[in-house]
């Protein structure tokens, strides 16, 4: 089976889908691997290294895709790239199928079996293939570094001959993988870290990385014992919103990370709230690619509004291309191995992970949410 690694052509994308290390192991499993010349350059993996571990270099993308039974990529292919794929071949990449209807149609049309790495089920078993997790880890870490690098203050507390430096107050909104990593990194740097999430169960997880969880103090009056979680009253929600506003105003750095799968990111920070922050504060919006959690976020840009710097970088993992590629590659490798049985490549469509990550196959759109959204948008 011929596996092709395409060079990424999207602006600002430095990652590569497979690194030499993974290729070495995949070769042993019987894969024949073709790599586009220069595919790993931006991530720090040279063509030479690829050749050394058994990959065949191919200089033209066209030629590569024409031969390949399976193409692996990081970012969703452009329409041209999709067009170039061999009919009936396999594509493994982040596809963002819920957003890119045209691309999905094209893939279906070409009878391509496409797997979306971004829709792999988030089970313990699948975690080694889960690029959302691995890339979120990077985003969370990098968001804090960006914030620390951008802000005009120290993160740690320092008591020096030139006065006492107060530690930076960092607020993380949304404590998923990226949020937790952001909390941990900011804590490491010496910041005073708080986090908030709508899922109450993450409270413990937030504490487990040394941060404080923001909670609405339970009002003594009213229903009383338990139960309020389900029927969160409007009053409760309002109190919560006020509380968060208060914390935003006090914070030097805010890192919102809230995503809702397949949808536009929710707005958590209004313009007023931005204006309430001290001049010089920083917001690093990790939801930028999905529209941003801050009302003022400009995806892909860094702007200054009301004296607050709002970083809307839409591809933080790419800035850590070396390790990001390593992790991405490992995810793909594990996914490919998952698609194999003892005798080699053989997709088992019964399997939860295989099936769950399928976008198109045999000319049909398999992923439910995608096909539903596509149907909706056609109406």
């Amino acid at each position: 089976m011929k596996l092709a690694v395409l060079k990424e052509r999207e602006e600002g994308e430095n990652r590569v889908a497979l690194i030499p290390d993974s290729i070495k192991r995949l070769s042993k499993k019987g894969f024949e691997i073709l790599v586009e010349t220069g595919a790993g350059n931006a991530a720090g993996y040279s063509d030479q290294e690829y050749e050394q571990c058994g990959a065949t270099l191919v200089s033209s993308a066209q030629e590569l895709t024409a031969q390949a039974d399976c193409v692996v990529k990081v970012r969703p292919p452009s329409l041209q790239e999709a067009e170039a794929l061999k009919n009936d071949s396999i594509l493994i990449a982040i596809i963002q199928s819920t957003l890119r209807h045209e691309l999905v149609s094209k893939l279906a049309e070409k009878q391509i079996t496409s797997f979306g790495l971004d829709i792999i089920p988030r089970t313990s078993l699948a975690q080694s293939m889960d690029v959302l997790s691995s890339m979120s880890t990077i985003s969370g870490y990098k968001a804090v570094l960006l914030a620390a690098d951008t802000i005009n203050r120290f993160f740690p507390m320092l008591m020096t001959a030139a006065g006492t430096i107060a530690p930076a107050k960092v607020l993380v909104l949304g404590a998923g993988v990226a949020g937790l990593m952001a909390c941990a990194t900011a804590k490491r740097l010496g910041g005073v870290v708080e986090a908030f999430d709508v899922r109450p169960e993450v409270k413990e997880q937030v504490k487990s990385v040394g941060a404080r969880f923001i909670e609405v103090p339970i009002s003594e009056d009213g229903s009383g014992s338990g139960g309020y979680a389900k029927e969160m009253s409007d009053e409760y929600k309002q109190k919560q919103a006020e509380l968060i506003s208060k914390h935003i105003a006090k914070s030097d750095v805010v890192i919102p990370t809230a995503l809702i799968p397949g949808r536009k990111a929710p707005i958590l920070i209004s313009e007023e709230q931005v204006a309430s922050m001290k001049p010089g504060s920083v917001i690093v919006d990790l939801a930028a690619e999905m529209g941003g959690n801050c009302a003022l976020t400009q995806p892909g840009q860094t702007i200054i509004a009301h004296g607050v710097t709002i970083v809307g970088h839409s591809n933080l993992p790419s800035t850590m291309s070396f390790h990001a590629s390593q992790m991405f590659s490992r995810n793909i490798e594990k996914f490919l191995l998952h698609l194999c049985d003892e005798n080699g490549f053989k997709m088992n469509m019964e399997d939860e992970i295989t099936r769950g990550s399928l976008v198109t196959k045999g000319g049909r759109v398999i992923h439910e949410l995608t096909s539903k959204l596509m149907a909706d948008s056609k109406i």
Partner: protein, 459 residues
């Protein structure tokens, strides 16, 4: 041998017993302690046989042979896990011996004794008898021959009280009429009954404490015999065992967070509330012991692998973990950490925390680098990990995590798991590791468990 020489040897024996107990206070000298105490016992027995005017050597020889065979066989055959019940049985024998000696002396003296001798003989018999049946009950409970749950019935305390009173009344009667065998036998029977009734209302969980208490009683019985026979060896040794036993009981109660009074009282009929829910299941049963057992095992490991999981993070136990690792490292244990790739709730969760606690990078090993080493490892300490050490990922194709690489902790000689309960981890599935023979569960918050373990190891 002259009575003076015999007494000198008795003194030597007593000294050896004391040294024996003293040496038991450190793992490195414990064996020597046991040995010294054996020598003391041998000397005491040997010198007794030289007592002027002693007869019946055939009987004595036969008795010793029978006892040696039975005791030796039972001690060698018993499974390590049944040790406590075996100790109970042996202790019962000791009690029986004291009671019998008292009876024999009673017969010897006929009616010619002063009240001091009478009192001590009676006490020796009552305590000895009670120890005998009480120990048998404890054995039966631990072996599951009778219910480990507290056995209670209406008026229980009243009945026990009545029996105690009756015993007292008979004793008074005996004072009036020293030679009366009937009254004497009555007292014996009541004391045997008392032993049974005192132990059955107590739950299986409290048995170790009860055994320890009965051990103290048997010591007391011996010392009473000593008073009656005016034999200093028996007085010293008996009171040594009696006093140490009662203190050990207190220490054990402290470990279970119960007062000695509470246990003593419950031992005579009152049902202890907490006994109710700890009555069943082996894990619950030995709870009070476990911390110490775990500490022993850890302190005696040659190689140790620590497997942290989300529970360590949730408990913020990273500093306590490092403290334990450092301490054992200093004691010469080879300590490594196995980091499962998905341990915790975010990638690298364990690394972040262990780096905070300054655990050197070179002690950390990724799954693929350490998984083969578990089989040759003495002890694995699992700190709040669950899914990542779940063997179902290997053996149970129907498990949702089947196929996920997990740490092969169960291949180690002993696995110690620190968590708060038997509840599930992130994946929501049961973990049969916790039920394996070589797994010891230590329940409680990971941080406090670790701190207690370190404290216990430092004594």
């Amino acid at each position: 041998m002259s009575i003076n020489s015999i007494n000198l040897i008795y003194l030597a024996s007593a000294t050896l017993f004391m040294l024996g107990i003293k040496y038991l206070s450190s793992p490195s000298t414990a064996k020597r302690g046991n040995f010294l105490s054996m020598i003391g016992m041998g000397a005491a027995i040997g010198i007794t046989l030289t007592t002027p005017g002693l007869h019946g050597f055939t009987l004595i020889t036969i008795g010793i042979i029978i006892g040696t065979v039975i005791g030796g066989y039972a001690a060698i055959k018993v499974k390590m896990t049944s040790m406590p019940e075996m100790v109970a049985l042996f202790n019962g024998c000791g009690g029986a011996a004291s009671a019998l000696v008292a009876m024999a002396e009673f017969r010897v003296l006929g009616t010619e004794f002063d009240s001091f001798t009478l009192i001590t003989l009676l006490l020796s018999m009552i305590i000895g008898g009670l120890t005998f049946t009480g120990s048998l009950m404890a054995y039966a409970k631990l072996q599951g021959l009778i219910s480990t749950r507290p056995i209670t019935y209406p008026g229980q305390q009243l009945i026990n009280g009545a029996i105690l009173l009756a015993t007292l009344a008979l004793a008074v009667l005996l004072f009036q009429d020293p030679g009366n065998m009937l009254v004497f036998s009555g007292i014996l029977i009541l004391s045997l009954l008392l032993g049974v009734l005192a132990v059955i209302p107590i739950g299986g969980a409290d048995m170790p404490v009860i055994i320890c208490l009965l051990n103290s009683y048997s010591g007391l019985a011996v010392s009473m015999t000593g008073f009656a026979l005016n034999n200093n060896a028996l007085i010293i040794t008996g009171s040594l065992v009696g006093a140490s036993g009662i203190f050990l009981t207190k220490i054990m109660c402290d470990a279970m967070n119960r007062s000695l009074a509470n246990v003593l009282f419950s031992a005579f009929g009152q049902v202890v509330e907490s006994a109710d829910d700890t009555g069943e299941g082996p894990a619950g049963t030995m709870k009070g012991f476990e911390l110490e057992d775990v500490a022993t095992i850890l302190a005696n490991a040659g190689t140790l692998i620590i497997v942290p999981g989300y529970g360590m993070a949730a408990a913020q136990a990273q500093h306590a973990t490092r403290d334990l690792g450092d301490y054992l490292g200093e004691q010469g244990v080879e300590v490594r950490y196995a980091i499962h790739p998905v341990a915790g709730r975010m990638p690298g969760h364990m690394n972040v925390l262990l780096a905070e606690a300054d655990v050197p990078y070179d002690q950390l090993f990724a799954l693929e680098d350490i998984n083969d080493d578990f089989a040759s490892t003495d002890v694995v300490l699992v700190i709040g990990a669950n899914d990542v050490v779940n063997p179902a990922a290997k053996d149970n194709p129907s498990s949702p995590i089947y196929g996920m690489p997990v740490l092969d902790v169960e291949k180690a000689t002993t696995v110690i798991v620190l968590k708060r309960s038997m509840s599930v981890g992130f994946a929501g599935i049961d973990n049969e590791l916790f039920y394996k023979d070589n797994t010891m569960m230590l329940f409680g918050d990971a941080k406090s468990s670790l701190q207690k373990l370190v404290a216990a190891m430092k004594q």
